[in-house]
Symmetry: C2
Subunit: 147 residues, 2 copies
DNA sequence: GTTATTCCCTACTAAACCTGTCGACTTTAT
DNA sequence: ATAAAGTCGACAGGTTTAGTAGGGAATAAC
């Protein structure tokens, strides 16, 4: 399950992606428009900034904007940053592999093999979906008709 | 992330699937062999039984066995039962749809569309992978060679 | 250089959830 | 009767989630 944090982060990023590149937007404005508690949002924006997805400007006329073009930011990066690895099990993770303590012969573990497939397909979708794709209505391979 | 409960449940079911159909196995034996706390496992087995995946026999010579053939029990059923809907967001769920309270115009929500694709691909894998498939080494479309 | 604005940072909290544990009760075979 | 086994409710300790609170630091405008 996606956390509120990740959901809020995606909303904020999508909102920023709609603006002309370099436009500074106030945290307060994002909070109001996206209906996210202001202080909570600040924590999230800060995390996104630390990870290099956002650029910020302090003081008057400050705010946040994307650090790269919307086509350069994927859902996968955002979800991993805020919610951790995609894989349903640590032993099925590629980016954050960890052995199951109680699993003898991991190599033949059927559960792991299935979960590995799940993680691969999640990664294929999320790492491939960028903010630009979302705004353009491109979801996966198909282009969405009107609505 | 898969809960311990779901992981233990899958382990127990796979173990039962290896036995000849109808063989009663003690909760205590499953617990020991799969290294799962006994009392905790009992809760899980009970839940599996209530959902019709297991059959139990009380008293002496009692135990648990699968209620159906291993080919009739999918990973998806088990995961949904113990961990809830597959979808990363309630608004992207098929089996347990719930509107996002703070989402105006859900219809055009880009986040939802992406998460819907994630849930579809998870469901395709998990609902298609049965206990029998796992034991046979069938994972998805390909058959696994030795190792 | 003062002031208003805006992001930055740390600490805290209340509630929920996860992972079990405990103890008693019921059913059943011997 | 007795012992073996599943059934059930309550609870507890730790972790995570979803925020809140309050100030500190940088910057622009005046």
């Amino acid at each position: 399950m996606l956390s509120q944090k990740a959901k809020y982060a995606l909303r904020a990023l999508l909102m920023l992606a709609e603006r002309p590149p370099g436009t500074m937007v106030l945290a307060a404005e994002i909070a109001e428009r996206q209906k996210v508690p202001r202080k909570f949002l600040e924590l999230i924006l800060l995390e996104l900034k630390r990870d290099g997805l956002l650029v910020s400007q302090r003081g008057r006329n400050g705010g946040y904007c994307l650090a790269r073009a919307p086509a350069g930011i994927s859902f996968g990066q955002v979800v991993r940053l805020l919610d951790g690895p995609l894989a349903p099990l640590p032993c099925a993770s590629v980016t954050a592999y960890r052995r199951c303590a109680d699993c003898h012969d991991e190599h033949g573990c059927h559960i792991r093999l299935v979960m590995r497939r799940v993680r691969d397909s999640m990664a294929a979708i999320l790492d491939n979906a960028t903010l630009a794709d979302a705004l353009a209505g491109r979801v996966g391979d198909e282009l969405l008709e009107d609505a």
